[in-house]
């Protein structure tokens, strides 16, 4: 574009000529490779900064030593190495996995429901997942005794998945008429489900004993402080597998941008694909909720901002959502554990402070579109 403007005598005509030779799919004003590279570099930097941040200070050299030890599979050597590898790294990895999962889940539900407000948190998927996970924690000694024995370390993520999936299906039935999703209905149903799940979670909290209460506290606010490697590996399986699936489904998500009818004409088995995508989203949300509790707004904020930058093409949007979600939650968590150090601010609260205004802004934008 620059070149042609400089070389041509008549800028208007010259610009038009240059545009004529432009390949159809070259993104205009949408520098995708740069966004990808920039995001990756920033994420790497954020990981290093997050590892360096905390009550104990390390040098970058110690981080590199730890990284070398980690990749060679050696045992932890010394306090510094132990703090980095057993305290900070799990938290960093968890933030990345959960953030990526939540952002992609948001991206997918918005794509399937064809609305930027259809965030898993807002439509009740997260609270459904949280309710199921709390039920497992509180009732694992009594009603749900068999469940934990059956599924071992996956008991919590699986239960959260089932809860999230159940809510997704209910919401889907309630909010969709003739293949078109009514946003208002969807969000109102979300409110109702949030209230119901909240009440049920409250009842469970009420009957919980002291130890269970301690386990439950972080659910209400969302925190990454409770993840060990065991939880992380379980979480990663349930996030990365559906994430890969969603990445491969960019074509149906793009076709859905044109509506379900047209997606059908384009040759996609729409109902089957939609169900699979929503299940994948519920799986990612469930996994995130099971380990980190309720962390809202990532699925709302990240895809929205990315659409402004790179457009709505899911070929890019899903992968970039994963990167940005990881980045956002990592930064938020690093902030959360430093602003009021040594206390640990639940990152869910911080995300709500960031996400609330964005949600309001989106509402204003939508209302303009409705008028």
């Amino acid at each position: 574009m620059d070149m042609s403007a400089r070389s041509s005598i008549e800028p208007v005509k010259g610009a038009g000529d240059a545009a004529d030779h432009e390949p159809v799919d070259r993104p205009l004003l949408r520098p995708l490779p740069w966004v990808t590279i920039l995001l990756s570099i920033t994420l790497l930097l954020a990981i290093v900064v997050s590892l360096l941040t905390g009550p104990m200070s390390f040098s970058t050299g110690e981080i590199i030593t730890s990284a070398k030890l980690l990749f060679s599979g050696a045992e932890t050597a010394g306090t510094a190495d132990w703090v980095i590898r057993e305290l900070r790294l799990p938290r960093v990895v968890l933030a990345c996995v959960v953030g990526a999962g939540l952002a992609v889940a948001g991206c997918v539900t918005q794509g399937v429901f064809r609305n930027p407000l259809a965030d898993p948190g807002l439509i009740g998927v997260s609270s459904g997942a949280a309710f199921a996970a709390v039920a497992v924690i509180v009732l694992s000694g009594s009603l749900l005794q068999g469940w934990s024995g059956l599924t071992g370390p996956y008991a919590l993520p699986l239960a959260a998945f089932v809860g999230g999936l159940a809510v997704t299906m209910v919401i889907y039935r309630l909010g969709t008429r003739n293949g078109e999703t009514q946003v208002a209905l969807l969000l109102l149903a979300g409110i109702a489900i949030n209230v119901l799940a909240g009440a049920a979670t409250g009842i469970l909290t009420y009957v919980a004993d002291d130890q269970q209460l301690r386990d439950l506290t972080f659910w209400s606010m969302g925190s990454l402080a409770n993840g060990g490697w065991r939880e992380i590996s379980a979480c990663a399986v349930f996030v990365l597998a559906p994430l890969a699936y969603c990445l491969s489904r960019f074509r149906i998500l793009n076709a859905l941008l044109l509506g379900e009818q047209v997606a059908g004409h384009l040759g996609f088995p729409v109902q089957r694909e939609k169900r699979a995508l929503l299940a994948a989203a519920a799986l990612m949300v469930g996994a995130g909720v099971a380990v980190a509790g309720m962390i809202g707004f990532i699925g709302l904020v990240v895809p929205h901002l990315l659409r402004l930058i790179v457009g709505p093409d899911h070929r890019w949007l899903i992968g970039l959502s994963a990167l940005s979600g990881a980045l956002l939650l990592l930064i938020a968590d690093t902030l959360a554990r430093t602003v009021i150090a040594p206390a640990d601010l639940p990152v869910g609260l911080l995300m709500a402070i960031i996400g609330g205004p964005v949600f309001l802004f989106l509402l204003v934008q939508q209302s303009r579109r409705w008028v």
């Binding site: 159809v24 930027p116 044109l258 004409h265 040759g267 088995p269 457009g311």
Partner: protein, 276 residues
């Protein structure tokens, strides 16, 4: 290859939407489906695209039931343009057109086809505009480019076996575009593609179609050559028109038909001239 519709009926919500509809769509056909509002034109189209499944009767493609054909396979042969379309998120014109190739998974390799389709539908200059900012007619032309590029493969060999199903595709376009665009769609029929177009504008149908299918209250009132549109009593029957109006429309349609016939001989002449 023929798309065969045999005594198709459809009941929905205790209402009879289609009753005993039969017709054939052959290779190279230009069929216009006409009728009053609520006559079942769009419903018929949706039966052909498999959107209604509780259809009695038989719709077969080359002897195979259309319902047995996987959606993906059908999309390679049959492109559909529905009446209205709203976008969930603002895509650019070129992105919308590229989606026409998503089932073929060659969005990048088929770029020259996408360009050709956009040029054919006169939207190439709009390619980097966002779809929702376009006017109604421009949106329809963009959609048509997407629909055409889906079966652009028919340019590589015969168009036989490909089908275009269009639902009032240029209703919002200006008259100049309506006629020139329909003629370009008609060029697909010349390649052997079977084209079925639901239309509202009788004169456009008279100018464009070879055959017409006239529906009234879900039933076929008449079907046959496009000359049916020049018969006042048929129009009176199909549209419930008063006689004087029906006469006017019939006269008008004859004019369009003759004009079209003159044009095609002209085109044939110029073709033969070029060959010399």
């Amino acid at each position: 290859m023929t798309l065969r519709v045999r005594s198709v009926s459809l009941n929905l919500h205790n209402r009879r939407l289609l009753e005993n509809v039969s017709f054939d769509l052959h290779a190279g056909d230009r069929v216009a489906v006409l009728g009053a509002n609520g006559a079942g034109k769009s419903t018929l189209l949706k039966c052909l695209t498999g959107e209604y499944t509780a259809v009695s009767g038989a719709i077969t493609l080359d002897g195979r039931r259309l319902g047995d054909l996987p959606a993906a396979e059908r999309a390679l042969k049959m492109a559909v343009m529905p009446q209205g379309m709203t976008l969930a998120f603002p895509l650019r014109v070129c992105d919308v057109v590229a989606l026409g190739r998503s089932r073929h998974m060659d969005e990048r390799r088929s770029r020259h086809w996408q360009k050709a389709a956009m040029e054919m539908m006169d939207v190439w200059h709009l390619r980097s505009r966002e779809y929702p900012t376009l006017s109604g007619g421009e949106q329809q032309r963009t959609q048509m480019a997407r629909v055409l590029v889906q079966i652009w493969d028919c340019h590589q060999h015969s168009g036989d076996g490909y089908f275009l199903l269009l639902d009032e595709c240029f209703s919002a376009a200006d008259p100049a575009h309506q006629h020139s665009m329909m003629e370009k769609v008609g060029s697909f029929a010349d390649r052997g593609v079977g084209v079925l177009a639901v239309m509202h504008d009788m004169s456009l149908a008279a100018a464009w179609a070879d055959r017409v299918l006239l529906l009234k209250q879900g039933k076929v009132t008449a079907s046959g050559p496009v000359e049916l549109l020049t018969l006042p009593h048929i129009l009176q029957e199909v549209y419930d028109l008063p006689k004087s109006l029906a006469d006017d429309y019939a006269r008008n349609n004859r004019h369009w038909l003759e004009r079209n016939a003159g044009q095609s001989t002209f085109i044939e002449q110029s073709r033969s001239l070029r060959q010399i």
